[in-house]
Symmetry: C2
Subunit: 228 residues, 2 copies
DNA sequence: ACTCAGATTTAGGGTAGGCTAAATCTGGGA
DNA sequence: TCCCAGATTTAGCCTACCCTAAATCTGAGT
């Protein structure tokens, strides 16, 4: 309920903190100060300070030296930002000639500036998409989200035929490389070979064979054919 | 040249100050502290402080107790913001279902968040419009502007047939009223009668007659048929 | 049970940009 | 020429966030 009041008053910093903490807390795990600091490229001391303020505002639960979790209000605000971010990305790709390697940076700023009205207008002209250009699910306007974390490419058994589900959006050059392999959400391909100890992975995409390193194995997430 | 460096580093506040000062300085007149304060809804003391900082940064020329003028750098930055603001307004009306009474507020925030790239993409899909939804001229990307200040409706002689040029964008309810009269940029109408001493003005728009007060007379600006 | 490296918090400091109240300037009228 | 109302600036304060350096906690490994 507090959230209704804060709704309009959260600063850009606060919004980015909440979003980062959400992404660092799969199924409500606690996020650590240093994880948050690393993701937001801030000093741990700064994060400590902000965490204290956000707890006092009721957006976080903080156990000193242990970590933070979002409260219901905090989670609501985080999902609202995630919806904005991902819809903006989808809109820019669909209507303003952006590619998946360039949208993230633009959305990172715009997400704080657009009105709820504008977000919903963009959703409408897009036909209420379920995922963004990186395959990440878009929360609904009332805060539901289908977290469909595919399995990392590095864990797909050799021989399997799978579909790209989602690709980590940070690092534009990495996204360009991935696109150059023909991989993007929805594309089906085959894992031909997988070497142990984080070794290279051989894949075949649209008839062409590529060998990629373990970093890509972490960053590209896949799904079998069962669902979807 | 300083501007090139600052380009990316101007804050939202600074950008709004420069824009306000530009609009308060037709043909390089000096803008006063209190005018700026009023337009930005800030205290005169706050404006004094900011004016000092902006002068030190080379964006303003300040003669204490007299007023401020934009430097070349300041003017460049102001026109860049004006281009952004007006293109965003045009884009929102054209593609996202906004009306001229709702765009200003949205643009006031977005103008600080969009990249140059996005601004130019919007301009491109719009076909590089010359004016925004309120009839205000859009500066070019290299900072040219055709200030086409029409004459206020209150100064149009009775009997004249004129065209709406531009309408003051602040105050959404006033814009809705004006729209309800059938007036918007490009619409031709006749001034039937004009009473002295800021008296009411009778106009005929598309066959319908209306009597409006002097406030509208100031806010609606017109042009004869010669140009355009 | 101790220890200490690494994580975290605290202390202290900086910038940006607001505000109110007090001091100061300026120009028009007597 | 003088005076004072109104405009402007200065003084002092506040909030939000960021930083580095110092203090403090915690837990894994002996
Ligand atoms: Mn952001
Ligand atoms: Mn994304
Ligand atoms: Mn603005
Ligand atoms: Mn406008």
């Amino acid at each position: 309920m507090n959230a209704a009041l804060q709704h309009e008053t959260l600063t850009r910093s606060v919004e980015d903190y909440l979003k980062a903490i959400y992404r660092l807390s799969p199924q409500g795990r606690a996020a650590s100060t240093s994880e948050i600091a690393q993701r937001l490229e801030l000093s741990p001391a700064s994060v400590s300070g902000m965490v204290k303020r956000l707890s006092e505002q009721g957006l976080l639960e903080h156990v000193p030296y242990k970590g933070v979790q979002l409260t219901a209000d905090g989670r609501r605000a985080a999902l609202r930002m995630l919806r904005r971010h991902r819809l903006i990305e989808a809109y820019l790709v669909a209507f303003l000639g952006y590619t998946w390697d360039t949208v993230h940076e633009e959305a990172e700023r715009l997400e704080h500036a657009v009105s709820d009205t504008m977000v919903e207008r963009m959703a409408a002209v897009l036909g209420n998409p379920a995922v963004d250009p990186h395959g990440d699910p878009i929360p609904t306007s009332d805060g539901d989200i289908h977290e469909t974390a595919g399995i990392p490419l590095s864990e797909v058994p050799a021989g399997a035929r799978v579909e790209v589900r989602q690709v980590e959006e940070s690092q534009p050059d990495r996204l360009r490389y991935i696109a150059s392999l023909g991989l993007r959400p929805g594309v089906r391909f085959t894992v031909v070979d997988r070497q142990p100890f984080r070794g290279p992975i051989t894949i075949e995409v649209a008839g062409r064979t590529h060998v990629v390193g373990s970093e890509l194995g972490q960053v590209v997430r896949c799904a079998g054919d069962e669902d979807a």
